[in-house]
C-alpha cells in the first residue's frame, strides 16, 4: 500500500453561500509524480488543495490518499501523510522562532523530544535554512519565510506535498533556489501556481482547471506550449516560450 497516491473522483465543492468552486474534478496522481495545477484566478486551485489537505470536505465526490478515503473521521490520519505549504507563509509560521515552528508538526506527531529537534533541524538543513533556526519568523524576508515554511512542513515527513503558489512573493534569486529545491524532493507533489515557468521546470504533468472543472490534463511540455488551450483558460505561454522582446526572435513554442 502506498500513501503517495492521491485520487480525486468527481470532486465537487460549494461554499455555504452556494458559490460552486469545484464541479466534478477527477484526477489520479501516482507515487512520486509532480503535478502542476494551473488556471485563472478563481478557477478553484486553492480550494482543491484545501480539500486535499482535509481543511475543507467535499460536498460531493471522493478523495483517497493511498487507500484511505478522506472523511471527517480519517482526516487526522491523512494529515500525517499529506503536508501542505500554504500560500501565505505568514499564516503558517506562528511560533516564536523558526526552529520551534519546524518542531510544531513533529511534536504533534508524538515524536520523542530529542528526535523532534533532530527532525526539525534536518528539514531546515534540507531547505538550506538552518541559519534561520533561532530567528523569529516576523523578522524574516519573504524568501526566508517561504524557506522556513517549507522546512516546517518537511519536518512532518509527509509522503505527499501540496503547495499553494510557492513562488509568489519571491525575488528571482529565491525563486530560482526554490525551483532547484523542489527538484530535489522525491515526494509526490501537487503544486498550484501561476508561475508556468516553475511548472515547466518542476512538474512533468499539468492539470488545467477552468471554472472548477479539469480543462486539460497531460504532459506539462505539451499543454503549456499550446497557446490556444492556455488562452481559452485565462492563461498565457510561459515566459520562456514567448518571443524575445529585444531581438524579436520567437520563443521555443513556435
Amino acid at each position: 500500500m502506498s500513501h503517495h497516491r492521491v485520487e480525486m473522483r468527481d470532486l465537487e465543492f460549494a461554499y455555504p453561500d452556494g458559490t460552486k468552486v469545484l464541479q466534478g474534478v477527477t484526477a489520479l496522481v501516482t507515487h512520486g509524480e509532480s503535478v502542476a495545477v494551473v488556471g485563472a484566478n478563481g478557477a478553484g486551485k486553492s480550494t482543491l488543495l484545501l480539500l486535499l489537505s482535509g481543511c475543507l470536505l467535499p460536498t460531493a465526490g471522493e478523495i483517497r490518499i493511498g487507500d484511505v478515503p478522506l472523511s471527517a473521521g480519517t482526516v487526522a490520519t491523512i494529515r500525517r501523510s499529506v503536508g501542505m505549504v500554504f500560500q501565505h507563509a505568514d499564516d503558517q509560521l506562528f511560533m516564536p522562532t523558526v526552529l520551534e515552528d519546524a518542531a510544531f508538526g513533529p511534536l504533534n506527531q508524538g515524536l520523542p523530544a530529542a528526535e523532534v529537534r533532530a527532525a526539525a533541524l534536518r528539514s531546515l538543513e534540507a531547505v538550506d535554512g538552518a541559519h534561520l533556526k533561532d530567528r523569529p519568523p516576523y523578522r524574516l524576508s519573504y524568501g526566508e519565510k517561504r524557506i522556513a515554511a517549507i522546512g516546517a512542513v518537511l519536518a512532518c515527513s509527509p509522503d505527499v506535498l501540496l503547495m499553494d503558489e510557492p513562488s509568489a512573493d519571491l525575488d528571482p534569486v529565491h525563486r530560482r533556489k526554490l525551483i532547484g529545491l523542489l527538484g530535489t524532493f522525491a515526494h509526490t507533489k501537487i503544486i498550484a501556481t501561476h508561475d508556468l515557468d516553475l511548472a515547466l521546470d518542476v512538474c512533468g504533468r499539468t492539470v488545467v482547471l477552468h471554472d472548477g472543472r479539469v480543462a486539460a490534463d497531460g504532459p506539462t511540455a505539451t499543454l503549456l506550449a499550446d497557446r490556444g488551450l492556455l488562452a481559452a483558460n485565462g492563461l498565457d505561454l510561459p515566459l520562456r516560450l514567448q518571443g524575445c522582446p529585444v531581438c524579436g526572435g520567437s520563443g521555443s513554442a513556435d
Binding site: S53, F86, P96, L107, V116
Partner: protein, 270 residues
C-alpha cells in the same frame, strides 16, 4: 485618527524580541522567574492600603532584574504608561473622599486619601513592572511553557498563547488597513463613522486570518493540545535566585526596613 505606522509592530512583537536577548536573567529557568514574580506580587499586594514606606524596599527586585537583564528602558516604560490609566482610575477618587489627616510633611497636612492613592500607584508600578520584566526576559512562549510545567491547566495556557498570537495578527492587519486609509485620505483624519467601519473591517480581517492560521495548525497535526519543544532544567543558580528572593520578600514584608533604618539612624545620632 492619526495612528502612527509602526509596520504592524505591536508590544507583543517588541516583548518577544526583547526576550531573545541573552543575560543572566534571560538564562534563568522561567519557572523560578514565575514563582519569584508571583511571590513578589503577593507580598506587595498584601500590605494595607495606607502603606507606602514599607513598600519602597520592594523596588529592589525590579531594579535588580532590570539592570542585570540589560533591557532598554523605553519599551518597558511605554508599556507601564499604557497600563497606568487603569491604576489612576482605581485610585483617583481616594483623595476626594478620604480627608482624614494622618500626618504632616514639612508642615503640610497629608490626608489618608492621598497616601492610599500613592500606595495604589506604587503597587501598580511594582507589580506591573515585575510582570513586564518577566515577559520581556522570558518571552510569552517560554512563560506559557513554564506555566504548563507548573501544572497550570492546559486550557489556560492555550488561551494565553492564542491571545498573544492574536495580538500579532491584529497588529499586522491594523497596520495594513491603516496604511490603505492614510495613503488615500490625503491628510484628512478619519471620522467616527469611518473609524467604525475600519474597526469592523479589522475584526473580519483578523477572523479570516485567524481561520487561515488555524487551518495551517491543523494541517500540521494540531489537536488542541499545545506541545513545547525543549525541556526546562533547574540549575543551582535558579534555586538560589528563587529561594533568595522569596526569603528577601518575606523579610521585606515582615520587617518595615525603612522605619528600622530610620530608628537606627536617629538612635545613633541621639
Amino acid at each position: 485618527m492619526g495612528m502612527k505606522d509602526t509596520g504592524g509592530r505591536t508590544p507583543a512583537h517588541v516583548f518577544d524580541t526583547l526576550a531573545l536577548a541573552d543575560s543572566p536573567v534571560h538564562r534563568l529557568d522561567p519557572r523560578v522567574k514565575i514563582v519569584a514574580t508571583l511571590a513578589f506580587i503577593v507580598a506587595v499586594m498584601s500590605f494595607n492600603r495606607y502603606e507606602l514606606v514599607a513598600l519602597t524596599p520592594f523596588l529592589l527586585f525590579p531594579a535588580v532584574l532590570f539592570s542585570l537583564s540589560a533591557l532598554p528602558a523605553r519599551p518597558l516604560l511605554t508599556a507601564v504608561c499604557a497600563a497606568a490609566p487603569f491604576a489612576l482610575m482605581v485610585g483617583m477618587f481616594n483623595p476626594v473622599f478620604d480627608h482624614r489627616v494622618i500626618g504632616h510633611i514639612a508642615g503640610i497636612e497629608v490626608s489618608a486619601g492621598w497616601v492610599s492613592f500613592a500606595s495604589i500607584l506604587m503597587r501598580f508600578l511594582l507589580t506591573v513592572g515585575a510582570a513586564l520584566l518577566l515577559v520581556a526576559t522570558t518571552g510569552m512562549y517560554r512563560t506559557a511553557m513554564a506555566l504548563e510545567r507548573l501544572a497550570v491547566p492546559r486550557v489556560f495556557v492555550l488561551q494565553i498563547l492564542f491571545v498573544w498570537r492574536y495580538l500579532f495578527v491584529l497588529g499586522d492587519e491594523a497596520a495594513a488597513l491603516n496604511r490603505g486609509r492614510v495613503l488615500r485620505s490625503f491628510g484628512r483624519p478619519a471620522g467616527v463613522r469611518l473609524f467604525g467601519r475600519l474597526a469592523g473591517g479589522l475584526l473580519l480581517r483578523t477572523l479570516d486570518r485567524a481561520m487561515r492560521i488555524h487551518r495551517a495548525m491543523l494541517a500540521r497535526g494540531f489537536d488542541g493540545t499545545v506541545r513545547f519543544l525543549g525541556d526546562l532544567r533547574l540549575r543551582p543558580a535558579d534555586v538560589v535566585f528563587c529561594g533568595g528572593w522569596c526569603l528577601a520578600f518575606a523579610v521585606m514584608r515582615l520587617v518595615n526596613l525603612p522605619r528600622l533604618l530610620g530608628q537606627l539612624l536617629t538612635g545613633a545620632f541621639s
